[in-house]
């Protein structure tokens, strides 16, 4: 393994109800979730979920409401304990932690952003951002100084003394983001962080997060019900359905090869031109000199305007070496083909 695994969940099963063991035994015997629920009246939230997240990547779990995604994210900082399975963060088994160790872990290694912001309404913005540092025991002038810096970073300079209820949704979530980032922890959990925001604001926040991530290089575990959001910000995406992981992969992989009809359903509404990268569909034999070259990671959308003036474009890798090319027909065929394949 070349990449460093930061978060590792193994065989996580979570049963809600009074008799979780009973349901667990039946699940292990191979009964389906629905059968177990019918027999024991216990609700299976997550069933045998395994995933690992690498350092510095944005890992997005996409699922509809009731799929168990909010339950899943809460296992990583142990706001919820699994019925069975293991959770390792930075190689440490967090389920084995004593309360004091767990608090220390939460104070230093992992921060969280919430769907409905979870801000403290009785404190002003500055003290909200400084909250985690206060819990950690940082003195007032230091934490206020840092909070002012982070408020500036997220674009909320001048709002220090406002109260949360005076802010708009987008501003509130910027406060939530600053409150998490100020902790300077390696891992950031984002539970539907942008779902409560208006579409335009949401898109702005997504871009801001990607921009920040270039500098911060955090390990981000992001939960969303919005497939487009998942493929826009995710380095890797996992699709969760009814408590089970259906598919995990790079956004493009999922769009080009949806594992099940369920995933294909989401892929149908995606703007493929924006996701499919030319590197995936290029013609490797096309290496003759040409007027325009684009990087491997360019999307179809990026290259389409170029075909107004050129027959084909060359493709170069990150070192500028020519690795192939593609013409207008190739792009259109790729887009149409992927479309057709799903119909």
């Amino acid at each position: 393994m070349s990449k460093q695994t930061v978060i590792e969940l193994k065989n996580i099963t979570k049963v809600f109800g009074e008799k979780p063991r009973e349901a667990l035994t039946l699940l292990e015997q191979g009964l389906s979730k629905a059968e177990v629920q019918a027999q024991t009246s216990q609700v299976v939230g997550l069933n045998d979920v395994c995933l690992s997240v690498n350092r510095g990547e944005i890992f997005v779990v996409m699922g509809l409401s009731g799929s168990g995604k909010s339950t899943l994210i809460r296992h990583i900082n142990r706001l919820i304990d699994p019925t069975s399975g293991t959770v390792h963060v930075n190689g440490v088994d967090i389920l084995g932690m004593q309360p004091e160790e767990l608090r220390e872990f939460r104070r230093t290694e992992i921060a969280m952003v919430f769907q409905n912001f979870g801000l403290l309404p009785h404190r002003n913005v500055l003290d909200n951002v400084a909250y985690g540092l206060e819990i950690r025991g940082v003195d007032k002038s230091t934490r206020h100084g840092m909070a002012i810096e982070w408020l500036e970073t997220v674009g909320l300079k001048g709002y220090e003394n406002s109260r949360p209820h005076e802010l708009s949704g987008g501003q509130k979530q910027r406060v939530g983001l600053a409150r998490a980032l100020i902790m300077d922890s390696g891992i950031l959990l984002m539970d539907e962080a942008f779902s409560a925001l208006d579409p335009l604001i949401r898109s702005g926040m997504q871009e801001q997060l990607l921009e920040l991530q270039i500098k911060l290089k955090k390990t981000i575990f992001f939960i969303t019900h919005d497939f487009n959001e998942a493929i826009k910000i995710g380095d890797r995406v996992a699709v969760l359905n009814d408590g089970e992981l259906v598919q995990t992969g790079r956004p493009e992989q999922i769009i080009l090869q949806p594992a099940t009809d369920y995933v294909a359903e989401f892929v149908r509404d995606v703007n493929r031109a924006r996701v499919i990268r030319v590197g995936t569909i290029m013609d490797k034999t096309l290496v003759m000199p040409c007027e325009v070259v684009v990087p491997l990671l360019s999307t179809c959308e990026d290259v389409l305007p170029l075909f107004a003036a050129h027959d084909y474009v060359g493709i170069v890798d990150s070192e500028g070496k020519r690795v192939g090319g593609i013409g207008a027909k190739g792009v259109i065929a790729a887009l149409a083909q992927h479309h057709q394949a799903l119909e």
Partner: protein, 302 residues
């Protein structure tokens, strides 16, 4: 028709399953025994209550009447930042003075304040403990139901037997009557704190204490203040009954009015109680509203 009015009582009488007289004798003797051997201990234990009550009463009586009117009017202004409530407060207090009820009103006020302070002192921790333990809540809730529904005379008698007539049993009876709403509302207020906010505090590694002091109590404060408002109101509604066992104050005037068939005396004292009720109700409510606005809860509803 007359045939229907025949007395048929005995036929449907509830059968005697076992004899209850020994139980009653046991209870009565037990209480007598307690009064005889533990009475002094109880009195000694309640002595600090008496000291506090008298300190409050003597302090309020030593302050000139106009200063009290200015102070309460000022408090009303601080609570509302408008002039309507302070004017109402000043007029109501002047009326109490004009009706020659000033001293009685102060005594009643002192009893109410002492009862409220004592109630807060043990209802708040109890409410907090209940919000944290389901078992405790299940255990205490029926006791609170009992405290609220049991006719006050039923516990007034044993309390008087133990402490003797006077201010202390009046205070204790008032506390028993006035504590349940504050305990309930403290418990409720803490449990109703937004789960996501609690999760956030937990996710940042807050200890139980940090959660309680930094998040739960501040956010439950409007609800707790509503409980304190209830406590003051219920304490005031106890003053007439409390005066029967020697609490004095406005309740005693009402009692005398009834006893002497002086309707005017009863009416005036009754109006005095109403005036106090309005003053304290509106001031505590206004403070509660300000707190809610500060937190931003009232904005959501408007």
């Amino acid at each position: 028709m007359s045939g229907r009015l025949v007395y048929v009582g005995q036929i449907d009488m509830f059968p005697e399953i076992f004899e209850t007289r020994p139980v009653r004798i046991w209870i009565d003797n037990g209480l007598d025994w307690m009064v005889k051997y533990w009475g002094d201990w109880f009195e000694a234990g309640a002595y600090p209550l008496l000291v506090m009550l008298l300190a409050i009463q003597n302090f309020l009586l030593s302050v000139p009447w106009w200063l009290i009117i200015i102070a309460l009017g000022g408090l009303a202004y601080v609570a509302t930042k408008r002039w309507i409530l302070p004017i109402v407060v000043v007029v109501a207090l002047l009326l109490v003075g004009v009706m020659e009820l000033w001293e009685d009103a102060i005594k009643t006020m002192a009893l109410m304040i002492a009862a409220t302070i004592t109630t807060i002192a043990f209802a708040l921790p109890m409410g907090i403990a209940m919000s944290r333990s389901v078992i405790l809540r299940r255990l205490v809730t029926p006791i609170l139901d009992l405290m609220q529904t049991l006719p006050s005379f039923v516990y007034l008698i044993p309390v008087v037997m133990i402490f003797g007539p006077g201010k202390v049993p009046a205070l204790i009876a008032t506390i028993i009557y006035a504590a349940p709403p504050l305990i309930r509302l403290t418990d409720l207020g803490i449990r109703l704190v937004d789960t996501e906010i609690m999760e956030a505090a937990q996710a940042f590694g807050a200890t139980k204490r940090q959660k309680l002091i930094g998040v739960q109590i501040p956010l439950a404060l409007p609800t707790i203040l509503a409980g304190i408002n209830q406590t003051t109101m219920m304490a005031l509604s106890m003053v007439v009954i409390a005066s029967m066992i020697g609490a004095g104050g406005l309740g005693y005037q009402v009692l005398q009015g009834i006893g002497r068939l002086e309707v005017s005396r009863g009416l005036f004292a009754g109006l005095g109680i109403v005036a106090l009720a309005i003053i304290f109700d509106r001031i505590t409510q206004a403070f509660g509203k300000r707190l809610q606005e500060r937190i931003g809860l009232s904005d959501k509803n408007s």
